[in-house]
Amino acid sequence: MLQTAERGASASKKAPHEKYLEAFRIMLQTRIFEDKLASLYRGGLITGGVYIGKGQEAVSVSCGIFLQKGDVFAPLIRDQAGRSAFGEPLLDVARTYLGSRSGPMRGRDGNIHRGCPKAGQLAMISHLGAMIPVVVGKLLAKRMKGEKGFVGLTTIGEGGMQTGATHEGMNIAAVEHVPLVIVATNNHYAYSTPNDRQFACADLVDRAKGYGYEGSSVDGTDLTQCLEVIGAAIKRARAGRPPQLVVASTLRLAGHGEHDDASYVTDDIRREPFAQDSLQRAEQLILEQELLDREGLQQMRTELAAEVDEAVSTAQQEDAPVGSEEDWCAVSTRELVDQIP
């Protein structure tokens, strides 16, 4: 099994990863954007839920940043950073959360349940684990069509790892030997449930062997490690190695959704090394290694905040969908629409 550097062994001595600054920028944009979404939610301006990936930005950005055109990405709940890295426009997100009729989901679905399959980003359904075989099918079809060099990546939480769908999906991926990477983030809570009621094995990465995957672990609070480990897993899958399971360790630094105060998260766990904020750590490294100075950081923050505000205000000015104008038709074949009296 491929094991990575020990947690905390920060990369302060060697040169930073070539994508470090690009990744950091996306992480910061995500944080600003998600803070904004949370405040819109608190102000009653978002219908439904808001689910953010606070603390998980380093893992998520590393999932999206190495993917290329022709690859398949099936993000989940806490993947704003990965989605942005893969190329999802902020405006798509704002439109979906704010219920604009112009968004990719046009009010038919909301929040994190969005995507653009034509651009390679699948629109998750809620049922955890269900997207794994869909990615497998996309990859299988690409192989059948003679495409080469592609890879698929999907994410999941330590809770979602326990569904039957995840088991079936992981297994069938290995049976089909498709170039798949599964990045499982163990953020130590599934909604309110801690790990001891979720699984009883020592480490989820040990399952890799059982499925015929190559497994690796990563400190999800360390951007350098995330870029290296997830980047390497993507490279291996692309090169035809078996499917890859990467297990990242973090703490969910927000509620399950913005409706949730996460009061069940214990003080002890908040003191664990995996409870560090990946964004703060990345910022520190940037200053230490003088990739940017404080002024540069501040400028970046200002620019990003302007981008976020622009996306939000554009979406806010757009029309909402209207029931009387909706095309209430769930099949694409017009002549096969059931005419119910």
Binding site: P117, P133, G137, A330, D338
Partner: protein, 322 residues
């Protein structure tokens, strides 16, 4: 030469694999020399290398994989070993395939073949008729071919449809139905067929029950009572027009279904006739379904559990007497 219902299904798949590069078959035990639990794919793996693929026993992942492949431009046909096991794949079928086009505008042209319905000795877990359940959910097309000809043309049509299709093939008909040859004509998907014209009462039914209904109609004909039999063929969409036209001719309606009685196809047909064609009815519409218990194993119990010629005939008399 003669063709059974099962052979028609195999021939349709042969045709599809030959004519359409996007088609591949995905299911348990369907490859190799074995060719499936019912031999619906026998010989196809050898004839079409790499396009008839055995899967692990993972119904949910089989359908999930097919969905992904379909979104990527392929036309997968998933074979469930028995319709009953598709319950494991309900999530993928209902929540992923059924919502995909509505949510993303990307069509999801999968075909899921369900070997359905009762045969004696098969018991609670190898006998189910699930067309009502699938029809309840949006986004799916649900077909129940009742003849050799329909088994052939409707499977070919199913694969051409840009939406997910649940193709319910009846296991009892596999070997019991024979035709002289494969059809050269077809009725489009979504059209019901009047398989026997009549004047006194309409039996609206589908799948294997079409043949029970025909047998009953034959009996009554000897006494000068002419029963019209309508084979729905497609459960979703449901051809309400053909049903209403039949009821307009006869004034009496009996719906017969092999599935469980709560809700389902018979209830849907009656609801439509009651709301759209109340004025056409000379008697209250009636229905007969399987009993509201799991499907029994023993032939003595099984033959009483599902509608049969005797129980259907009794219902016919009841409706005629009104």
């Amino acid at each position: 030469m003669s063709v059974t219902y099962l052979e028609a299904i195999r021939e349709a798949q042969t045709y599809l694999l030959r004519e359409d590069k996007r088609v591949f078959l995905y299911g348990q035990d369907i490859a190799g020399k074995f060719g499936g639990a019912f031999k619906a794919t026998k010989g196809l793996a050898e004839q079409f290398p790499g396009r008839v693929l055995n899967t692990p026993i993972s119904e949910d992942a089989m359908v999930g994989t097919a969905i992904g492949a379909a979104m990527e431009g392929m036309r997968p046909i998933v074979e469930m070993q028995f319709a009953d096991f598709s319950s494991i794949a309900l999530n993928q079928i209902l929540n992923n395939a059924g919502t995909q086009y509505w949510r993303t505008q990307v069509p999801c042209p999968i075909t899921v073949r369900l070997p359905s319905g009762g045969t004696k000795g098969s018991g609670p877990f190898h006998s189910q008729s699930m067309e009502g359940l699938y029809s309840h959910y949006p986004g799916l097309v649900v077909l129940t071919p009742a003849t050799v000809e329909d088994a052939y043309t409707m499977l070919i049509d199913a694969v051409a449809i840009d939406d997910p299709v649940i193709y319910c093939e009846h296991k009892y008909l596999y070997y019991h139905l024979k035709a002289d040859a494969l059809p050269t004509e077809k009725l489009p998907i979504g059209k019901a067929r009047v398989v026997r014209p009549g004047r006194d009462l309409s039996i609206v039914t589908n799948s294997a029950m079409v043949h029970e209904a025909l047998a009953v109609a034959q009996q009554f004909s000897a006494d000068g009572i002419e029963i019209e039999v309508v084979d729905l063929r497609s459960v979703k969409p449901l051809d309400t027009d053909t049903v209403l036209a039949s009821v307009a001719r006869t004034g009496r309606l009996l719906c017969v279904g092999e599935a469980f009685p709560w809700g389902g196809v018979t209830a849907e047909v009656i609801a439509r006739v009651a709301t759209e064609g109340f004025h056409l009815l000379d008697a209250a519409p009636a229905r007969i379904n399987a009993k509201d218990t799991p499907i029994p194993y023993h032939p003595n119990l099984w033959s009483e559990h599902r509608p049969n010629a005797k129980t259907i005939a009794a219902k016919v008399r009841q409706v005629l007497a009104e």
